[in-house]
Amino acid sequence: MADISIIQANVVDDGATYPNYPVSITSSKLAGVALVPGDLVYGDTASLWQKLQCASSGGTATLSGYGANGIGVVLNTSAAGQPVSVQTSGAIDIGGNPAPAAGTVLYGSVNAGKIATSVTTGQYVTIIGQTVDSSDFVISPNATNVVHG
């Protein structure tokens, strides 16, 4: 399973290209760790953004409350304790890298902060969204709290 490739400097919300997928951005929480554009994050119980890791063990995802405080993609660069902008829905351009074919479903990766194109046995299944062209995908998170069989 491969994580998708992201060009950090070119990550930007893209509601202009896809107005049918309205963009929501929040800047109300601080970064819990150092974050860069394109990182996949979730809001923890301390209202900090942390890197999402959908591993079956050793990851940040658990079966209780996971995803309750928001899931999104980081839009700028922040050290721990700095405010950060996170896009929680709508179209996002991940930098012009060839993305998976349009229509590909994207998932939270077993690697912290990364987005993958598939899930593996024993991994928590968290759907992040779906690609719409070679550079954009639509963020529409759904934390199923289900372990892939």
Binding site: A9, D13, L75, T77, S78, A79, Q82
Partner: protein, 150 residues
């Protein structure tokens, strides 16, 4: 005497609510790559740009200004702190004089320098961006006059 910029440690730029509640502007994008701790203003294209000696803090094109609270590449949203306390370096770094006023640097774009201790360049604006609240913290407090130094 040469102008001297405050030394900013990007990863240690942090809001400091005990020295004034931080308020942010998160509605605009960066016009170029900007790092945390850079003094910025909203330019005519309504994107954040690093201040220069031609930026009159608090008036005209420099009316909307602040200190970058995180980092962004050109076109990305930038979060800018517009008031309150902000830490600019490691704790106890002794780089900031408590009670000293600070302004836009004459030395480099986006820099912050103290108000005293060197002659202000002719033609430079002297709007104040804040004062030293601790040895590593500035409380942002605008004092603008829009007057270039004679």
């Amino acid at each position: 005497m040469a102008d001297t910029n405050l030394v900013v440690s990007v990863a240690n730029v942090l809001p400091q609510s005990t020295y004034g509640r931080p308020i942010y502007n998160n509605k605009n994008r960066a016009g170029s790559t900007i790092t945390a701790g850079t003094l910025v203003y909203l330019n005519a294209s309504t994107v954040w740009a690093a201040t220069t000696t031609a930026t009159a803090i608090g008036v005209g094109s420099g009316t909307i200004w602040g200190i970058a609270a995180n980092g962004a590449s050109s076109g990305q949203y930038l979060i800018v702190q517009t008031s309150g306390g902000i830490k600019l370096n490691t704790s106890g770094s002794s780089l900031i004089a408590v009670g000293e006023y600070y302004r836009a640097s004459q030395l480099s774009a986006g820099g912050i320098a103290s108000m005293s201790g060197f002659p202000v360049q002719t033609g430079a604006y002297t709007g104040i961006v804040g004062y030293g609240a601790a040895t590593d913290i500035i409380t942002m407090a605008e004092v603008s006059n829009g007057v270039a130094h004679a």
